[in-house]
Assembly symmetry: C2
Homo-oligomer: 236 residues x 2
DNA sequence: ACGATAGGCGTACGCTGTACACCATGTCAA
DNA sequence: TTGACATGGTGTACAGCGTACGCCTATCGT
């Protein structure tokens, strides 16, 4: 028999390094979601024993932070010299693009306990776009608070259902029951039901247009910031 | 010897019920944080074996959802007949009050995978305040998207540091090093540093005023919604 | 030639959620 | 009165998690 390389997992000849570990984790998360990124699973993916990873990352938190850092480092930077609203807009939409490519990113950012360099860099770059427009740092500060997680490309949706992990929890209730449910909903929650109806008439094909939703809010806030700016607003 | 009641844990004579389990979980989370709410810990608290809890809650997700539901059910409702902005404002600030009493609530809401009745009820009530002002459901829909998690009383802060769990990670670096760090920060991240400086001059005593921050954004958005409303805005 | 170092391995511990079988009790119908 | 049945607490067990600790080997600078 030939006792050479391991059977299944890809095990390269050269030793691991931090970058390889982190990018493998990103790829794994892209493929199977953030929950699948356990030290054991990732190690198996790399053809290595779990504890080997700890030679390259301090702990799981460090790994996740590094994953975020890697993706955020790849955010597209708009050309300099843009009007400030456009600069902010492009940076935020750039973040959103990355988010759409790496759906786990939102969860990772929300769970993050550190601010890594790339993360700070993005926040600084966004602040810089504001500042280039002549907004006072006072206003920039509060405007960025208003943007909140939107600078990472997502809004904290009060409505949107969680990402529908795999199989539907209820096995498709019969249409009759569903109609009864709808009626009960309409009675108990008239306003959100009305919203649902209103939305359905406007967008017959599916749920609401997330991208429109996102840009709507973004532009709304940007306009409000501009108004405050030209009015010489100050926090005290 | 007296082989009667268990030694340490409080074990009442009457059997458990769902409400008792859930409110014990809330109390535990209030005392020791959401992370401390494990089935085993909670069961121990109730003087019961872990699996006993599964007679009252379907699983951990169900428990957390019920915890959220319980707190949200207690949100203060403003008197009817308020001007719509004031109605929304009071409901949202009421949610914020509950959040300040139960710091774990934010995390629980963010992690929630279900919309329980109380949760839907709050969303509906907020929508109702808008609707009472004559806003179209179309605009209500988009305005609530804009509010996002703010209707739960918190804004997703891009800046605020995570809640500083227990001991500081670094054991208070020497002042000399700290100054060097600050200088390096200022060079690499000029804008956020400028914000920090600006903020420090305005609020010499501490970090920024979260409450002010929150209300600033809230009022900003509300004013923008009002402007759209009076301009007859529609999404298409 | 040799010690230091880097990097992968193996074992083990304590923690998590929860499936499954079992048993005591209270309630109700026959 | 008796048996069926539901309710609720128990005990054991399993798979998975992060990670502390010690060992072993290959490489490299001196």
């Amino acid at each position: 028999m030939a006792p050479d390389v391991p059977a299944l997992a890809t095990r390269s000849a050269t030793p691991l390094n931090r970058a390889a570990v982190v990018s493998a984790a990103v790829a794994l998360a892209d493929r199977e979601g953030l929950a699948a990124v356990s030290m054991r699973h990732l190690a198996g993916e790399l053809g290595v024993v779990p504890m080997a990873l700890y030679k390259h990352v301090a702990d799981k938190d460090d790994l996740v932070a590094a994953m975020v850092d890697l993706v955020v480092a790849g955010y597209a930077a708009p050309p300099p010299g843009l009007e400030w609203r456009e600069g902010v807009r492009q940076r935020v939409l750039g973040a959103r693009d990355a988010l759409l490519e790496h759906p786990w990113l939102r969860q990772a950012i929300e769970a993050a306990t550190q601010r890594t360099p790339s993360v700070l860099g993005h926040m600084d770059a966004v602040a810089g776009e504001f500042a280039a427009g002549g907004l006072s740092y006072d206003l920039v500060h509060h405007s960025m608070h208003a943007l909140g997680h939107r600078i990472w490309g997502f809004s904290p949706e009060a409505f949107s259902s969680p990402p529908a992990s795999g199989a539907p929890p209820a096995p498709a209730p019969p249409a009759e029951e569903q109609a009864a449910m709808m009626a009960a909903m309409a009675q108990r929650f008239p306003h959100i039901s009305a919203i649902a109806v209103d939305t359905a008439t406007r967008h017959p094909l599916g749920a609401c247009d997330e991208q429109f939703e996102f840009e709507f809010t973004l532009d709304l806030l940007l306009e409000a910031f501009a108004r405050l700016h030209s009015a010489g607003w100050s926090s005290r």
